[in-house]
Subunit: 240 residues, 2 copies
Amino acid sequence: MEFESFKREYLLSMEAICEQIFQKNGDSIKVKKQKFAVKNLTRIIDTALKLSNKTGFHAMGLRALSKESGLSMGGLYAYFEGKDELLRVIQDYGRQVLLELMEKHMAKEGEPRGKLETAVKLHLFLSEVMHDWFFFSYMEARFLSREDRKSAIEGELQSEEIFAGLLEEGRKAGVFRVADPVLAASLIKAMLQDWYLKRWKYTGRSVSVEDYAEHVMEWISAYLGCTVSKRDDADETVIR
Amino acid sequence: MEFESFKREYLLSMEAICEQIFQKNGDSIKVKKQKFAVKNLTRIIDTALKLSNKTGFHAMGLRALSKESGLSMGGLYAYFEGKDELLRVIQDYGRQVLLELMEKHMAKEGEPRGKLETAVKLHLFLSEVMHDWFFFSYMEARFLSREDRKSAIEGELQSEEIFAGLLEEGRKAGVFRVADPVLAASLIKAMLQDWYLKRWKYTGRSVSVEDYAEHVMEWISAYLGCTVSKRDDADETVIR
DNA sequence: GTCTATACAACGATAGAC
DNA sequence: GTCTATCGTTGTATAGAC
């Protein structure tokens, strides 16, 4: 999987997803015409992500959101019942996309090594095209209501379990050397998250998302004690 | 270095550090008697960290800080000029401790492998006893003023450089196999930071800070292609 | 479906009593 | 050195015109 082809596929599926968001949150959205609603909702979420990631969700005033999104104060309230619900809608929105693309891409490859590489790249590529959401979701998760925070934690653990499962699978097949798959999965996730949490650092060093993916795979392969395939023109190399 | 002995040493140096904070911020602290000032300042910082880490610094009202710390609203303003400055003082406070202990512990061991292990353990142990500050510092750094954020970034890069330097040193000595020391240092930092960012996860799984340190060292050793010494009763093992 | 105008609670900050 | 009382500002949220 390459980043550019992933990006194309992602953009195509965006429109459909936005419509799903509208239909799912029909209760609190007072605007009933899909044409209006989807357009404005998208604009609101995009603006909210942009502003929140600068100053934090709590510090972002609805007056600022109104001004920046082009809708009036009253207009905003046609799309959500209150600021708390906006937070929830945004979280939902991202998780919808995440789920959709996970199902689409995973389980394509059969052997553990290929599956693992797909999962790593999928996470990184997705967090690249949806950087604002991933950053937001990480930084603002603790401000969710009790039950919504529970959903967020489940999401975090769920994606960790995918990695732990792949590691376990590889161990059983005798191709991975791993003592504690869950703990190893935690460390892998930590490395993946650093990509969108410290984006400025990597931008400044001209590290592309594909460079980063390759580097992470080298670490993982070294730990698991297996070979890693270098991309493009480079030939197959054994690490260590 | 073991966690318990580290903890003892750290607790001893706390009092001295708080006095330093008092003297350094003498301009904005209106209370001049050290006896009063150090006691209250410590209490204010501890409370602010506790409250901020629940709701975020911005959402923490000064009324809540007043109530929880036992000082009145007016009383608080004898210790800082405004909420922004409180944020700065807290950041400063942590960096002071971090710096103090780095200088104290590092450069004790001569060979790269030992130095690296010391640096890893130091970071993890320190983030364990000062968890509230590390979490706060990571999550609230983006709300600092332009120039204070610059200091925070410098601190982040500085500690990364320590690791990059150690890796480079080991490579020159021929004991580490590492293509890009800076990128590798980034990933090491990401693993170290996960310990205090996802503390709840590891607590729930009964992973101790020493377990975690050992695990991180196994990953690093595997990547660098060198041996790792297991702690306690276990014998020396070659990874891979 | 969107706007302007407004309500009212909570915020950071300060003055002046003790 | 610390308190209480109060200021002006800004926050979320809504009512009613268009």
